[in-house]
């Protein structure tokens, strides 16, 4: 029986802006975690990670991170990933402000 595999997404920082980005199912880098491709199979996740790491001219520091799947899409499990998704808590900067601008 295969061991349990916690769902994951692929994340990195954009090379030019440094923004936190997530890999989508159609191979784009999105600023929104809700757009991320959720990987539920370990072999698939490893392959997608290798493919993402090959895109060194677009992103820096590619890695897999655990998520929980919800009706709103993937949600971070660790608080560090929650801050990466949102922005700093002392100032309304980063993604939280960008999201507002887009709305």
């Amino acid at each position: 029986m295969p061991r349990d595999f916690n769902p994951k997404v692929i994340t990195a920082n954009a090379l030019l802006e440094g923004d936190v980005v997530y890999l989508t199912i159609d191979d784009r880098w999105s600023r929104n975690l809700s757009d991320a491709e959720v990987l539920t199979d370990e072999a698939d996740a490893d392959l997608r990670l290798l493919q993402a790491q090959a895109r060194a001219s677009e992103v820096v520091g590619v890695y897999l991170t655990d998520v929980r799947t919800t009706s709103r899409g993937p949600e971070p499990i660790h608080f560090r990933e929650d801050f990466r998704r949102r922005g700093p808590s002392n100032l309304f900067h980063g993604k939280q402000a960008d999201t507002l601008r887009r709305a």
Partner: protein, 556 residues
């Protein structure tokens, strides 16, 4: 203030040209991130949690109005309108874009600034006393020596790839305002039988293995400084550990080999190094000295200052904490708090920076300092002008009267920005300051230094806080350990851990309990928190923290 000569200007211009080309090659794919990373770090460019971060060196914390205005310009032109002053007296910009960084570096070069050696395993920004040149208790201004060390260490070919980063501080008074004994090398300018030279301290540091520096040489003649520093650095470079990052700082080299062995190795190397110095460095030092002349301060009637103190209790309270005695009786040293209640410690907006630059120009002999406690200082203000300075600062949200008090908190950026952090620091500092303001007790509490780090690297100096707070990740939850009894002054002491840590929502109430316990138990208002702790020991404070056992977090 030291002015760049042609060599300095050419050197910075060439480094900036090289970095611009390196950025272009990274963007066009000619350089991989592994190749580019050490190059960007050599130029102070980090990649943090949400964005790049550019750390700009402010040598020994000294600025003039033109430099500070240029930092304000960078903040507005390429960042989000503010900068963050650090415990190494540098400034960090948290939101630059990679393509813009070469332009930012060129703009810095226009005012003789750069970001070189603000990262990497090199000799970092040399720090000094933020009251240098103004303090009544100093033997001399320590900054010319700091500048000599800066010039010697910048791009020094032998010391670009040390086992680990290396930090030097220089002071010239018994009263240590630069946490000198927490440095890899701490220098104190001293007199011995009519001769001037240095006490050399080695192996201090914070991080995961905090240590107080040990006295390596009680007296080093003035002219022998650079060859002696080279002997120490060369010894460390040779035997410092490169197998384990956590054991690579010189404090571990000293600890593992013993001070006597290190001293013997340094003294054996020293004559060889000394022979290679022809005295040119002393000629340079003479030229540098000439650039640091203490301004000629005219006599000024200080009576308006005392009249304002009598008439205005808000002004009086502010001067009690934020104005320090100057060596000239008609002048004062004004410390500008970057710790407004609820604000991020060390942050200043572009408009605040411009205001401070204007005040320095108008009232402060064009001299501005950054302190390791993340505040700004106007070192030479005529007492008669202090009321006008205070009024302008208040209007800009810079009039907080809390220097040396419990809300004058050092806090690292923590997990709100830093990729290495294990927990947040800034909101904890904000929470404590807001609670103190709510209780209106900090003037009654008096001198109390709270220092917060968001990881074991201890950038927030928590080990030497009277109350230290260390944020950790415990099983995926933020958890805060408390240390008590740390001391950053001349009697440097590493704090002692109280016990199990506290959850994020428990840490501010825990600090409040400590402070209220101190108020209950102190031997009168003259006894500071640190003195009370040293008299009473850990027990009553521990009891105040953990008798709320149901609130204490079990994990250690």
């Amino acid at each position: 203030m030291y002015q760049y000569n042609d060599f300095d200007a050419d050197f910075i211009r060439e480094r900036n040209r090289q970095f611009r080309a390196q950025v272009e090659r990274r963007i066009d794919g000619s350089l991989t991130e592994d190749e580019f990373r050490p190059l960007r770090l050599m130029n102070g460019l980090y990649l943090q949690l949400h964005a790049y971060m550019l750390r700009v060196a402010i040598p020994y914390g000294s600025l003039d109005p033109a430099k500070l205005r240029q930092l304000a310009y960078l903040a507005e032109r390429w960042d989000k309108g503010y900068g963050h002053f650090t415990t190494r007296t540098n400034i960090q910009f948290n939101w630059p874009k990679l393509r813009d960084v070469p332009d930012m570096l060129d703009a810095l070069a226009e005012v003789e600034m750069h970001a070189i050696q603000t990262s990497g395993n090199t000799i970092r920004n040399v720090t000094s006393d933020h009251f240098a040149g103004a303090a009544a208790d100093e033997l001399e201004d320590p900054r010319p020596v700091a500048e000599l060390i800066r010039q010697w260490s910048t791009d020094h070919p032998e010391f670009q790839f040390l086992p680990r980063k290396f930090k030097i501080a220089v002071i010239a008074s018994e009263n240590d305002r630069a946490v000198m004994k927490s440095h890899d090398i701490g220098l104190r300018i001293v007199d011995r039988e009519g001769a001037r030279g240095f006490q050399v301290w080695v192996g201090g540091g914070m991080g995961r293995t905090p240590m107080v520096a040990k006295l390596l040489r009680d007296f080093l003649p003035r002219a022998e400084l650079l060859p002696y520093l080279e002997a120490v650095l060369a010894t460390y470079n040779l035997i410092g550990r490169r197998d384990n990052k956590y054991k690579a700082r010189i404090k571990i080299t000293v600890h593992e080999n013993g001070l006597d062995e290190i001293r013997a190795l340094v003294e054996a190397e020293f004559p060889r190094r000394r022979a290679a110095f022809a005295g040119v460095d002393q000629d340079w030092l003479a030229r540098i000295n000439a650039a640091f002349v203490t301004p000629r301060l005219a006599e000024r009637d200080a009576s308006p200052y005392y009249a304002a103190r009598r008439a205005d209790p808000v002004f009086r309270a502010w001067t009690d904490t934020n104005v320090t005695t100057h060596k000239h009786a008609d002048y004062g040293i004004v410390t500008i708090s970057l710790k407004a209640y609820g604000a991020t410690p060390g942050d200043a907006s572009a408009s605040q920076m411009r205001l401070v630059a204007d005040l320095a120009e108008r009232f402060g002999q064009k001299d501005i300092r950054v302190s390791h406690a993340q505040n700004l200082v106007l070192p030479h203000v005529a007492l008669a002008d202090v009321p006008a300075v205070h009024a302008a600062l208040r209007e800009a949200g810079l009039g907080t009267a809390n220097i040396g008090l419990a809300s004058d908190i050092i806090a690292c950026p923590g997990m709100d920005y830093c990729a290495l952090a294990t927990a947040r620091s800034i909101p904890v500092a904000q929470g404590i300051a807001l609670r103190l303001e709510e209780l209106k007790i900090e003037h009654e509490v008096g001198h109390l230094q709270i220092k917060i780090s968001g990881c074991i690297n201890a950038c927030g100096h928590h080990h030497v806080g009277h109350i230290g707070i260390l944020g950790l990740d415990r099983a995926g939850v933020e958890n805060y350990q408390i240390t008590l009894g740390g001391d950053p002054s001349a009697t440097t002491t590493i704090g002692t851990r109280t016990g199990p840590g506290f959850a994020y929502d428990e840490i501010v109430p825990a600090i409040e309990r400590l402070i209220l316990t101190y108020l209950d138990l102190r031997d009168g208002p003259e006894e500071t928190f640190l003195e009370a702790y040293n008299r009473l020991g850990m027990a009553p404070f521990k009891s105040a923290l953990y008798e709320h056992a149901d609130r204490a977090y079990a994990a250690e």
